[in-house]
Amino acid sequence: MNEPLLVLDNVTKNYGAIEALKGISFSIGKGEVVALLGDNGAGKSTLVKIIAGGLEPTSGRMLFEGKEFLARSPAEAKAAGIETVYQDLSLCTNVDVVANFFMGREITRKVFGIPVLDERAMEAVVGKALASAGTRIPSLRANVEHLSGGQRQAIELNRFVHWGGKLVLLDEPFAALGVEQTRRGLDMIRQVANQGIGVVIITHIMQQAFQVADRIVVIRQGVVAGDVARNKTSPDAVINMITGETLAGAGPAG
C-alpha cells in the first residue's frame, strides 16, 4: 500500500497489574482493509478503543497521517476523521432513526441566533443514505427500540458509510446480520475502502476476513502474532497464528 494512514508504535495498555496489550505495532494504509483477528481476550477491542479515543494507552505512540496522535475522547477521534462501529451497538433506542443517524452532528438552522434542529433536512439525508445502501426501514420516524437487530446494525453501518472520515474501525459489525445483509455489509466495506478510507475490521469469522481484507493482523495475548497480506496466507495458517501453534511475524508470544 501507499503511505500509511495510521501507525501504531509499541502501544501498551495495563489494567493494574494485568497487561492487556504488551506492545502492539502495525500500520494501516489509505484505502486498505485490515482484518484484526485473535481469540477472545486477545486485546482486539482494547486496541480499537485506544484508537477511537475510548481508552488511553499506558505507553507507546500513534501516528495519524504522519503526525503524533492521541485521542483523549471519542469526540477528538471523530474530529480527526476516525469513525467507529462498536460490537455492542451504539444506538439510542429511545429516539428515532434520524436522530440516531445524526447523533452529535445534527443539522441546525439559526432562529434568532439559537440553533434549531432542521428535521426535514436530516430526514432527507437519512432517506437518501439508506435507500442508496438498499436498507429498508418502514419509518424513519420510528423509535429504534421497535426495529429488529438487523435493521439496527444496518443503521450503524450506513452511518459510518455516510460519515466516512479517513479511518473506520469496525468491531464485529456483522454479529446480528443475516447472510444477505452481511454480504451487503462486506460490499459496503470495499466501497468505503475504494474511496481511500482505511478500514480496520475485527471479526471472528475467518471467511469474512479473507473475503474483504487486504491484510490480516493477528493479535495473541496482547502482542502482534502475525501481520500478513491476505493473498500470501491461508485460513489454516491464520488459525495457527491465533492459537499460537506457529509463530509468525513480530513479537514473542508470551
Binding site: A52, G54, S73, P74, A75, A77, K78, A79, T84, Y86, L89, S90, L91, C92, T93, N94, V95, A99, M103, G104, R105, E106, T108, I114, P115, V116, L117, A142, H146, L147
Partner: protein, 331 residues
C-alpha cells in the same frame, strides 16, 4: 391495522395524559357542583404554577437519566433568601432599592443564583466524581433544608416588598403574572427539549449514555448544565413561592418534592430516563391541581389529597407499562 387507525392510536398514546386531564375535567364539571366555571379553571392553573415550574427542572434531570431530590429544599432556600432580604417584618431585613422596580431583577437573580449554585454542586459531584445522583441530591435535600432552618432560625419573614408582590397580584386575562411565568417556562423549555440539539442530546444521554459518549457528544458538560438548570429552575419556583405567600417560612414548600415526582411520572416521564416530554409533565401538574380543586369543592377533608395522589402515581406507572405493551404490538 390500517395506517390511519394506527396513527390515531399513536397520537392518543403520545398524549394520553392530556386526554386523562380532559376526561377528569369533564367528569368533575358534570358531577361536582360549581366546578364548571372559568374562575375555577383559572384557579387550577394559578395553583399549579410553583409545582409546575419545579417539575420542569426535575423532569429535565430525570429525562437525562439522573435524579434531583433537592429541588424542594433549593426552592425553599431561594425563597428564604429573597424573603430575608426583601421582606419588611419578621426576620426580613427590608432592603430597599431605588428605583423600586430594581428589586424585581435583583431578587430574581438572587433566587436563580442560589438554585444554580446548588445545582452546579450536585452536578459536579454526580458527573465528575461519579457518585450516585440519588444519594448526592438526597444529601442536598437534607442539608439545604437545614440551611433554611439555620439562616431563618426557624422563624419567618413576612410582607414582601410590593414591587415584587406585584407579580402575584397583577392579572393578565384572568391569571396572575406568576402563572404566566410558569406557562412561559413550560413553553420555552418544551421548545428547548424538542427543537434544539441540547434537548435532543439530553434525551439521548438518558437513553444510552455510552452511545452518546462514543458519538462525540459532550456528555459530562450536558449533564452538569442539566443539573444547574434544575437548580436554577427550582430557584425560580422558590421566587414564585415567596411571592405567593408574600414571604418565607422555615417549612415553606415541604412536600412539594413528592408532588413534583407525581406530576412528572403521571406526565409520562420514565424514571429510567430518556422518555417523556415537558407538555406531558404540564398536563400531569394540571391533573393534580384539578383533582385538588375538586377535593376542596366537594368539601372532603384535605387529608384525602395525599391518598389520591399516591393512587394516581400508581395508576400512572401501571398505565405506562400498559402503553409499552400496546406500542410493541403496534411496531
Amino acid at each position: 391495522m390500517n395506517p390511519r387507525t394506527r396513527k390515531a392510536l399513536e397520537f392518543v398514546l403520545d398524549n394520553l395524559v392530556w386526554f386523562m386531564l380532559l376526561f377528569v375535567l369533564v367528569v368533575f364539571s358534570i358531577f361536582v357542583p360549581n366546578y364548571f366555571q372559568l374562575g375555577i379553571f383559572a384557579n387550577i392553573i394559578e395553583a399549579s404554577s410553583v409545582l409546575g415550574v419545579m417539575s420542569i427542572g426535575l423532569a429535565l434531570v430525570i429525562i437525562a437519566g439522573h435524579m434531583d431530590l433537592s429541588v424542594e429544599s433549593v426552592a425553599a432556600l431561594s425563597a428564604m433568601a429573597v424573603g430575608i432580604l426583601f421582606c419588611s417584618s419578621g426576620i426580613g431585613m427590608g432592603v430597599q432599592l431605588h428605583p423600586e422596580w430594581l428589586m424585581v431583577p435583583v431578587s430574581l437573580l438572587l433566587a436563580l443564583a442560589v438554585g444554580g449554585l446548588i445545582g452546579a454542586f450536585n452536578g459536579y459531584l454526580v458527573v465528575r466524581v461519579k457518585m450516585s445522583a440519588f444519594i448526592i441530591t438526597l444529601a442536598s435535600y437534607i442539608w439545604v433544608r437545614g440551611l433554611v432552618l439555620v439562616i431563618s432560625g426557624g422563624r419567618s419573614a413576612q410582607d414582601l416588598a410590593p414591587a415584587i408582590r406585584w407579580f402575584g397580584i397583577q392579572r393578565l386575562i384572568g391569571l396572575p403574572l406568576t402563572a404566566w411565568i410558569a406557562v412561559g417556562c413550560f413553553v420555552v423549555f418544551s421548545l428547548i427539549m424538542a427543537k434544539t440539539p441540547f434537548g435532543r442530546h439530553l434525551v439521548m444521554i438518558g437513553g444510552n449514555e455510552t452511545a452518546t459518549f462514543r458519538a462525540g457528544i459532550r456528555v459530562n458538560r450536558n449533564l452538569i448544565i442539566a443539573f444547574v438548570l434544575a437548580g436554577a429552575i427550582a430557584g425560580l419556583a422558590g421566587w414564585l413561592l415567596a411571592i405567593r405567600t408574600s414571604g418565607a417560612t422555615a417549612n415553606l414548600g415541604v412536600g412539594l418534592l413528592f408532588n413534583a415526582f407525581a406530576a412528572v411520572v403521571i406526565g409520562g416521564v420514565s424514571l429510567k430516563g430518556g422518555v417523556g416530554t415537558l407538555p406531558g409533565v404540564y398536563a400531569g401538574v394540571l391533573l393534580l391541581s384539578a383533582i385538588n380543586t375538586a377535593i376542596n369543592l366537594m368539601g372532603l377533608p384535605a387529608n384525602f389529597t395525599q391518598v389520591i395522589h399516591g393512587l394516581l402515581v400508581l395508576a400512572a406507572v401501571l398505565l405506562d407499562a400498559f402503553k409499552q405493551t400496546i406500542r410493541q404490538r403496534l411496531a
